[in-house]
Every structure is written in structure tokens, then in C-alpha cells.
Symmetry: C2
Subunit: 222 residues, 2 copies
């Protein structure tokens, strides 16, 4: 049983890498099993179908990312540092950029956001995947919404609808990650923070300063 569980993990891990590099449709079960180093027969022991594997890859990736986002964005941080809500948002972008850069250093290519990639590739074909991705993006928007609401209570932003503002921030993130993938270059992600402040009518560093900085500088690392 130890060995079979290990095979499931290997299949998931290989599938996640391959989907990140080449998308879902381009992959076959045989190729995934070969990359995982497990016999093809094992696949259907663990996964009913390739679609079931895609859902498992999505869930696995979200489990890790959700933990990261909660650690960064939660007000109840163990470290006690970065209690300021806008500082937490800024860290989310910095860690996103660092994560994409680390991925590029690992495999040579910026792989982008797994959820964004699969949204554009699969959501019109596979309703189960669309539904799961909707839940994940809603959860992301909700987490960002909560931080914006905190910032609003502190009068650090001027939005009137925190939910829509959060959606726009996540949309900007997805759009810039798309460019990072297209150019295989993470430097575009450096503008996320100033863009976020602009979208929120933020005044973390003083209204005038923020306005000047808005989309005006691309500094790697935020």
C-alpha cells in the first residue's frame, strides 16, 4: 500500500509539471505515467479518467496555494509582522513574482498560473473543471476582499465595492502573469503593486506619491 500511494503522488506530481509546461489536452495518460515512472495500469487504479486527474491536480495545487495565500494575507499572522493590510497585499505580489521566477529557474519557462491556464484551455469543454476553477477564483477574490475591507476601514483605500475591487486586483494579477508567460520574463510582475494601489485608490505612501508611481515604474521584487 505504501508503494501504491507513492505511485499516486508520483502521477500527480508529473501531471502537474507536464500540465504547467504543455497544457492539459496535449498530454496523454501514457506520457504522464512514463514521466512519473509508474506502469500505465496504475493510472486507472487511482484515477477514473484524465479529467479526474486534472481535478486532482487542481485540488492539490490549490491546497498548497491556499495555505500560502492565507499565511500572507491573514491578519492573525504568527510572526505578528506586516499587520498593515496593504503590506500584506504587497507581499502577495512579491511572493507571486518570486514563485514564477523560481519556476522559471527550475524548468526554463515561466509556467504562469495553473488556474488561469486551465480556465482558458478547459472551462468551455469540461464543466466539472469550470466549476472547480470558479470556486478557487471566488476563494482568492474573497481573501483579497477581506484585506481590502480592512484597508478601507483604516481609510487607506477609497473603493466603494470591495468585492469588485478584489476581482479587479486578481484580474490584473492574471493578466500580468499571462504576459510573464508570453515573454518568459517575470519583470512585468513588478508593476502589480503600483497597479493594485491605483485600482484601490490607495494612499499607503501618500496620495501624491502613489499617483506619481502609478504604473510608472517596473521594479522587480515589487
Amino acid at each position: 500500500m505504501g508503494r501504491t500511494s507513492d505511485a499516486r503522488v508520483k502521477i500527480l506530481s508529473a501531471a502537474q509539471s507536464l500540465i504547467g509546461l504543455r497544457g492539459y489536452s496535449a498530454l496523454g495518460v501514457a506520457e504522464i505515467c512514463k514521466a512519473a515512472g509508474v506502469p500505465k495500469g496504475s493510472f486507472y487504479y487511482f484515477f477514473e479518467s484524465k479529467e479526474a486527474l486534472a481535478l486532482a491536480v487542481i485540488d492539490e495545487h490549490w491546497t498548497g496555494q491556499q495555505r500560502t495565500w492565507e499565511r500572507i494575507l491573514s491578519a492573525d499572522t504568527d510572526s505578528g509582522a506586516d499587520a498593515d493590510p496593504l503590506d500584506r497585499l504587497r507581499r502577495l505580489f512579491e511572493e507571486t513574482e518570486a514563485g514564477q521566477l523560481a519556476g522559471q529557474e527550475g524548468c526554463g519557462s515561466v509556467s504562469g498560473c495553473l488556474f488561469g491556464n486551465l480556465t482558458l484551455e478547459m472551462s468551455n469543454q469540461t464543466e466539472s473543471v469550470r466549476a472547480r476553477l470558479q470556486e478557487i477564483f471566488e476563494a482568492q477574490v474573497e481573501m483579497v476582499d477581506a484585506v481590502i475591507a480592512e484597508a478601507l476601514a483604516r481609510q487607506e483605500v477609497t473603493v466603494t465595492d470591495t468585492r469588485e475591487a478584489a476581482r479587479s486586483v486578481v484580474a490584473q494579477l492574471e493578466g500580468q502573469v499571462l504576459f510573464a508567460k508570453l515573454y518568459n520574463n517575470t519583470r512585468h510582475l513588478g508593476s502589480l503593486w503600483t497597479n493594485c494601489l491605483a485600482l484601490l485608490g490607495g494612499r499607503a505612501t501618500g496620495e501624491a506619491t502613489v499617483r506619481e508611481a502609478t504604473v510608472g515604474e517596473v521594479t522587480v521584487g515589487g
Copy 2:
């Protein structure tokens, strides 16, 4: 020769629809020819490979879209109306929303942006496609950049780097179109205009008003 040219157009048209619905990798040449109503043998008379077809679909789509963007964004409009640069940008978002809605009414699904879809699906696999998509996005950013520069000269926006600002506007567009596809709902595109103004530090309707409206309202049709 009339018939063969017709076959090429049919293949391109069928391929564009199918790629919009299901992506590139999921499609086979046989399926494309069947949808086009042409014998499979015709395919390789017109296209060296499936990759060559993808490039032709991209070029065909861009030829049309470039003409539309130029018509909307150019200062030398025949109609003479909407000479104000920010009004032209607003019209770009309105027509994008209308186009996605018309597509949804036609086939039941919001198909999103062909270039964004193929960027996330193909750019790490096929360098020729990545290069072509880079050129297209650069051209889009350049067109938006020119309009922002005009608005800046009229002191209607406050950005310091019009190129980066243009890239952020196109990134926001791609991110919101991703959500429109995910939810099969174009209403998210209604926030593009207020978000664009926020990103540009725009004051088309007065600084205070714009700040209040920033990402605060989603009005279909901009």
C-alpha cells in the same frame, strides 16, 4: 482554383471556431476538415502542418481585430466623433464587451480572447506561435500607448510611463476576459472602463468622481 481557395477559407473559419471553443491541442486535422466540409487531403495542400494552421488562424483573426482597434483608437476617425482620447479607450472596452456577448449569443459560450487563450496554451510549446503572439500584444500595447500619450498631453491622465500603463490596461483587459470566460458571463467586462481610469490616474469626469467610481460599479456596456 475558385473551389480550392474556398476550401482554405472554410478550413480557417472552422479552425478558428473550434480553437475558440476547445483550444488548439484538443483538435485533430480530421475533425477540422470534417467541420469545414472539405476532404482531409485538402488540408495539407493549404497548410504544411497543424502549427502552420494555428499561425494562419492567428494572423486572420489579428487582421480583423487590428482593423477594429485602429478604427476605434485612431485620432483620424472618419466620423470625427469621439476625438477625445479617453472616449476612444472607453469605446474599445465597450466594443470588446459587445463582441464577447455576440460570440456567446452565437455559440452559447464566451470564448474569450483567442490570443490570450493561445498564449496560455501554446507559448511554452511552440516558439513560432509565442513570437507571433508577442508581436500582436506589442502592437495592441502600442496602440493603447499612443492614446494614453495623447491623453497625457491633454493632462487627462497622470502616468509617468505610458508604455507600462498601456501594458497594464491590456493586462486588465485579458484578466477580465478570463473571468468572463470562466463564468460564461460578460458582465465582469463592465468594470474595464473604471479600472482603466484608475490605472491611468484619469480625471476624465473629475478627479473625485473617478476616485469614487473606481472599481465600485459594474455597469454592462461601460
